[in-house]
């Protein structure tokens, strides 16, 4: 814990960016798991970006001569379809590679929406206090009162099934965590000298909130953002699995699992690989999140 005094100002927008990053990397790279997670995550991003180049087939092309072909190493499989094919003869590997695009897109969109919403509400609540605060935080409490997946399910029922609506619903469900975090940080920072100084110097409300206070609340937000990224992927996959997220034939991993369910006892590969892809992605991001927490915010350290 002796590093806390050293890091906090570094992470908080030190003008000397390079040293800031070096300090950050120093603490981040101590955590071996985090580095591995980051490496895997970068691979995922590359796979998603270059899916059309890497994938041997288009994700929706069906080979009518190759239904439920097992992976290459199993009897009956061939190198033609490295990870086998699904029930309508689509190449699993290609679909998984394209699926990475959806998962990363889901994570990015959900976290962006939740961040923007959470930061806005949290800043307003923490900065103005009073009835604004009460009103906003009561609504946040209310959202948190529902089990997240249940609320997401119900929201998707209202909005209609589909990937975009699923993302909206998940963002809404995850957003209170950000609002609470920002509010707490704003309340802690608001009475600090530098904020008072900026106010005396004539800074307006908007400037005080966005330019003076917000940059100093970033560390916990980054950590929460990372953890929400993996949460979003899991929840979206769960919605897809239940048939309310991305709709077939979208090669979203959860949706792929849903259509693979009936072949579970006949073709293990159609079930195993999409789930493994979800697990590896989520695990990698959670590892990075743990590393970020250690590096950015010693106060939040769990162990």
């Amino acid at each position: 814990m002796s590093q806390s005094t050293e890091i906090a100002p570094m992470a908080a927008g030190n003008p000397d960016r390079l040293t800031g990053f070096r300090t950050f990397w120093h603490y981040f790279s101590v955590n071996r798991g985090a580095v591995i997670g980051l490496f895997v995550f970068i691979l995922m991003v590359l796979a998603a970006l270059f899916a059309p180049l890497l994938a041997p087939y288009a994700p929706d092309i069906q080979d009518k001569t190759a239904f439920l072909r097992p992976p290459a190493w199993q009897a009956g499989g061939s190198v033609e379809f490295l990870l086998g094919t699904d029930a309508v003869g689509r190449d699993m590997l290609s679909r998984l590679l394209y699926g990475a695009r959806f998962s990363l897109l889901i994570g990015a969109v959900v976290v962006t929406l939740a961040l923007v919403g959470g930061i806005t509400l949290g800043l307003l609540a923490g900065y103005f206090r009073g009835w604004v605060d009460v009103a906003i935080m009561r609504v946040m409490d209310l959202i948190l009162a529902f089990p997240s997946l249940l609320l997401a399910l119900v929201l998707v029922t209202i909005l209609g099934p589909g990937l975009f609506n699923a993302m909206l619903a998940i963002a809404l469900v995850l957003q209170p965590h950000f609002a609470r975090l920002v509010r707490a940080a704003v309340m802690a920072e608001k009475s600090r000298e530098y904020v008072v100084a900026a106010k005396v110097a004539g800074a307006g409300h908007i400037r005080l909130m966005l330019a003076t206070i917000l940059p100093n609340c970033l560390a916990p937000l980054i950590v929460q953002g990372t953890l929400s990224f993996s949460n979003a992927i899991l929840e979206a996959a769960a919605l897809g699995f239940l048939g309310l997220g991305a709709q077939p034939p979208t090669p979203e991993w959860g949706t792929m699992l849903a259509s693979a369910r009936e072949f579970i006892l006949r073709a293990w590969w159609v079930v195993t690989f999409p789930g493994l892809a979800i697990l590896i992605t989520v695990l990698a991001i959670n590892l990075v999140g743990d590393g970020l927490r250690d590096a950015l915010d010693p106060k939040l350290r769990r162990s």
Binding site: G33, R138, V139, D141, L142, A145, F146, P147, S148, L149, L150, L153, V154, T157, I158, G160, S230, L234, A237, A238, F241, L242, G243, L244, G254, L257, R261, I264, L265, W268, V271, T272, P274, G275, L276, I278, L279, V282, L283, N286, L287, D290, R302, S303
Partner: protein, 335 residues
Amino acid sequence: MLRYLLNKIVLVLPTLIGITICAFAFVRLLPGDPILAMAGEHGVSPARYEELKEQFGYNLPIWQQYAHYVGDAATGNFGVSISSKRPVIEDFMTLFPATIELSTFALIFAMVLGIPAGIIAAVKRGSWFDQGLMGTALVGYSMPIFWWGLLLIIFFSGYLGWTPVSGRIGLQFFFKPITGFMTIDTLLYGKWDAFRSALSHLVLPAVVLGTIPLAVIARQTRSAMLEVLGEDYVRTARAKGLSSSRVIGVHALRNALIPVVTTIGLQVGALLAGAILTETIFAWPGIGKWMVDSIFKRDYVVVQSGLLLIALIVMAVNLIVDVLYAVINPRIRAS
């Protein structure tokens, strides 16, 4: 203490009102006409439509509709399910024990493994066991449980043929439920083979549902234990010459468990969310599957009431946990 309790209840009231507003608004937010939405795919005749409108009170001003809704809910009237034609509350009461049974076993599984594992990891901090456990816990925490369930079915039901794939009990067993808990009812009837059948149906879903709580509990126990092991009173106990097992088992554990108990209590919401997926995979006839099925059947009366009832349960459990926490830990009461 009474003041603390009253204070807590007052704090919960806005959430309670908010939950009823959400459930009330749900049907009205659905795209299209609420009565047609509730009537399902078959539609209704114009005469029946007017009748239903009258019956549901849709011709009244919105605040009156809300008042009626809350009044009905408070007296246990949640409407009639369109698909089962039975009062929603009756269906809920039949299905809820299945979810409680599943969640209880899941929680027992998570605690029985998670607490000792967390303690050992903390005591042997940095050892291979600690690192391995924390790694495993992170995998468990990142697990898409709907996939985990399918994998277990492939292996244990498909490959080994040890456990059934779905349901709560073998179809050959049929008896009138007493408590609604299969494991208890079969014992009350003294039918051992039925009890075994119920248990074998329960194992996989309980493991699947318990996986994430297990990871959370193991991590939480470890960190709570580490914190406590560094405290003065633990050092004092050691210095007095007490055996290591007594220091850990009595002095440290008792204090470390307080945050763990809270964590367990707060898992209830997560358990019910997880139950939606677990019950769907294993065709477990509980309220999670009921909700999902009702969404697909467009039985929105059920979805609305399910939403309300589940949120109320989670809220009540969290309140109880809060109060219990204050009972164990006087410091909370004071603040």
